[in-house]
Symmetry: C2
Subunit: 248 residues, 2 copies
């Protein structure tokens, strides 16, 4: 069944669609008719079954809450050094499918691209749309938030809030630190906030490794193969899911 | 250090580069000079350090074998119903980075595309190039092989050779079969051959589920979120790596 994210919280049984994109999708693209059913997800993350009650007024009636929580048991933030081209778009889509809670990016020492404030605002807006679309398609309860930091120091100032900080560091693989990730994941409690940090294509600089280690980051290997910058976050999110959701 | 895959096996200490793409990359793109070092990987999967000994003759001298095996401990074949567009290209690149041993695709009941023999041959050639490039970049010991089946029955005839067969089935997630994948992976022995089967965008048909189950496939869930057709294989390969390589 089609799922739509609606900003805010429901104020009663009736919901009037005011978002133009959503109303276009419901009534023009999907051609929904009176009594057709969809799932609405408000800011509380609860999926609600809703029925079209008036096409002209774009009104829906809430039928019942659905018990369907597909969020990861921990809130995972993916933070990545600005990569080239449209890799952030790719990571945003795939990380949303794989359950990320927040998508952050920052200008890393070895980021090749330099984005000014205008470019960052435009990019963030695009990524938010991608996250929303991917969240709907993968039937998420929440749309991941997007934040692009203009300055690395502003990103570093946010690192302390997390319960676990993992730094995906290529050299870790060579130093036999393959067990660190599984070990770290096994210590997580439901509801905790974890942060995964990834470099851009060129990787994380030694100065950044030192700074992040001082802030409590644990260097982890993601297997022995060299993963591209945009592939590593997908591995990490899959690992979180395997460790916390597939235990049976 | 740059890595190149060379067909065949070395016949002595001297290696003459005959592949035009490789020689162009070595001597025109990378501008390698006498005494520069590269890694050569022959069909035996052993990485060998080699030194340029003659640019004009495109000769290299083998220096020593390197102890660097980054292959997964089990051979993983990814088989996917023909997806739309360039999704197979995407899956080939990413699955190669993530350690796949073979990449197969077949016309599934719900595949929208219909590729004739000419198109299949062209597609396979393109995928082989992508696999080779990705294998070099992720420093693999082997290039995954590519096989596109013109008929589903030919694919089904190959299924029996595997030690474990996993069917990524969306409905499994809903039936609480989240533990099947981890359980199956925990039973694997090094060197075994495993097969992961994925549907195209529309999924696997009930008839296909029945046929594959008869052939020994176990339906597995890949977490509670709906993954796109091209994302599911990446989750599966990451799961194999987490289960078998990150144990420490």
């Amino acid at each position: 069944m089609q799922e739509y994210f609606i900003k805010g919280l429901p104020s009663g049984e009736q919901v009037k669609v005011t978002d133009k994109d959503i109303s276009k999708h419901m009534f023009t693209v999907m051609r929904l008719q009176v009594d057709d059913e969809v799932v609405l997800v408000f800011d509380d993350g609860i999926k609600r079954l809703a029925r079209i009650s008036d096409r002209d007024e774009q009104l829906l009636t809430l039928v019942e809450d659905l018990v369907d929580d597909v969020e990861l048991p921990v809130a995972v933030t993916i933070a990545m050094g600005f990569p080239k081209g449209d890799k952030l778009e790719f990571v945003t889509q795939k990380a949303t499918e794989l359950g990320a809670s927040q998508l952050w990016a920052f200008p890393a020492d070895w980021s090749v691209v330099r984005w000014d404030a205008k470019k960052l605002a435009k990019k963030a807006e695009k990524l938010e749309k991608i996250a929303q679309g991917a969240a709907q398609q993968s039937k998420r309860n929440k749309i991941p938030s997007v934040q692009l930091f203009a300055h690395k120091k502003d990103f570093l100032a946010e690192v302390a809030q997390f319960d676990q900080i993992f730094l995906a560091y290529e050299e870790s693989a060579k130093q036999g630190e393959q067990a660190q990730l599984v070990k770290g994941l096994s210590q997580l409690e439901p509801g905790q906030k974890i942060l995964f940090i990834f470099g851009p294509e060129g990787g994380i600089s030694p100065a950044e490794v030192a700074d992040l280690t001082d802030l409590g980051a644990v260097s982890v290997g993601l297997g022995p193969r060299i993963l591209r910058a945009e592939t590593a976050p997908l591995y990490a999110l899959s690992a979180v899911s395997v460790a916390l959701e597939l235990k049976g």
